[in-house]
Subunit: 324 residues, 2 copies
């Protein structure tokens, strides 16, 4: 067996996608373009008001792991689902791409997590997430057996929101140190960064040497108000920052090295869901295959461009091959 | 409350869609473009071999009912799901369009039905269907309360495959007679017609006065080898036939009246799933609103054209408004 290139540890979520108009968001009282955590009762209430939906496996870092596997990378995954139909769908979709899924579906606890993704006519998404079984992730799930010795381990910011998430991730950081794994963070969203800034800031540049973020997230991390100020701060941290900027492309900062990547033209944004996840997938795939930062950023841009022109956060099988 | 315009009685199915290449069909031994019924074990086996999937409510006549509701028609639905996540998704998607769902999810019996829809690069679909809880449909589910007094009741050919399907449909035909309801058949597929030809032939032109079929189905019904021969037979039957012919458009035969409808140009067939169902939806919507047969056929063609240029069998909410 060849070694795992990228292990993901994150919330295992099934996306429930629907198209809504802006009035719908106002009516149900959901702030536009936000990601808000909701409880089961609110999830049921919201679902009752939604039109017909499509279900697809999702979850930010899970999307990235699926994307790397889709490109041919060797990946593994740790995340909790319940043993229900949505949980089995989630596991199937990962395994069908060759991802080594390291936890079996739980027989107890809440149902599999789902994220209601409300797509407005401009292609932007507003997410309401019920974390369900994800909340049961605990240090006992992160062991030398489940962690293994991946080249890179990608941790999701959202996991800090889980009751035992910080403890589980601390264990991952410790195992990573021992295994010589490069520890990477996906900052998830600016609100999440705000909730856990001290923990994030303490780890980045120490155990964590690679950060994936968009510009608002990285500005929130450093508590600065301009992108350039954030870059100036990133330069001084001993970590690689891959920062996406929507139509402005992306910037990679690694100490004094800086790569500026233009965005590719987009005919029409159909659904912005998964742009960052797809970027990270292609970036890490290129990185673990020894490509230059410029190549990593370029492939990342291509993947993000492709995914926002379809509905859903994961490119169909082989789609990334066609663009790369 | 205003009266129901169209009631559907059919298999309640969740579609599990995936893109495959032609080699996949050969490898798993599935005949191209067929609809084959499979048992639960085979369903699990096949699923294990499939790539990532997308889940969407489906079922032929259920798609049609959803389509009519989407256009603003008043609809009701009878079909069996289990009380599991897929069953709740199915019911949600119908109710969210305003469909009056008349059976509650079953607490016993097999899980909710699913159809594995294998989409090849040419946009054609090959279906492997596990009927699950649909098989529990029985005469007790068709009562004066659940049937009501719809203007039109649309019955699905596939229901004849269920153990108590013929008995349930016989009861529907009887209730329809009493209620003054126009009974309509969707012939489902040519193999289905072959399996139940005597039953279909006996009802059409007697209790059943409206038939939706594609050209191979109607040729199978009349056991003739040319489309024109089928039309000649249809002319003599006391029923309206709406016959779809893919890129050749459609033909409506109602006694001596004949309407020929051209197909609309299609840039690229993305997924042929649901073309016939969408045609029937728009046709019946127009019909129950007193439009001419020419208008019915024209709106049907527009709906079919729209649905084959997307993935999935049901147009997103309001899509039909935009094309009509």
């Amino acid at each position: 067996m060849s070694a795992i290139q990228v292990l993901g540890i994150s919330n295992a979520i099934v996306d429930v996608l629907t198209h809504v108009d802006d009035q719908f968001l106002t009516r149900v009282g959901v702030p536009r373009r936000s990601m808000v955590l909701i409880d089961e009762q609110r999830a049921e209430e919201l679902y009752r008001q939604m039109g017909p939906t499509t279900e697809m496996s999702g979850g930010s870092v899970a999307n990235t792991i699926a994307g790397i596997a889709n490109l041919g990378g060797r990946t593994a995954y740790i995340g909790r689902v319940f043993d229900d139909q949505l949980g089995r769908i989630f596991v199937h979709d990962m395994q069908s791409l060759g991802v080594d899924v390291r936890l079996v579906p739980a027989k107890g606890g809440p149902p599999t997590a789902r994220s209601y993704i409300l797509i407005t006519p401009d292609g932007e998404r507003t997410m309401q997430t019920y974390l369900g079984n994800c909340t049961t992730l605990a240090p006992e799930h992160i062991t030398p057996q489940t962690f293994g010795q991946p080249e890179i381990a990608l941790l999701e910011g959202y996991v800090w929101d889980l009751p035992q998430g910080p403890a589980a991730l601390a264990k991952a950081l410790e195992l990573g140190q021992r295994a010589g794994t490069i520890m990477a963070f996906s900052l998830s969203d600016a609100e999440c960064v705000k909730r856990h800034r001290p923990a994030f800031a303490a780890a980045i540049g120490k155990e964590v040497r690679m950060v994936f973020a968009n510009e608002t997230e990285v500005m929130s991390l450093f508590e600065v108000t301009s992108f350039e100020a954030a870059v100036q701060r990133a330069v001084k941290v001993d970590a690689l920052f891959a920062i996406t900027r929507s139509e402005k492309g992306s910037v990679i900062v690694s100490g004094q090295e800086r790569v500026v990547q233009e965005a590719y033209p987009v005919a029409k944004v159909v659904d912005a869901t998964g742009a960052g996840d797809a970027y990270t997938a292609a970036f890490l795939y290129a990185k673990t295959n020894g490509r230059s930062l410029k190549d990593c950023a370029d492939l990342g841009s291509r993947a993000a461009t492709a995914v926002i022109q379809q509905v859903g956060a994961r490119l169909e099988k082989d789609a990334l091959y066609r663009i790369s």
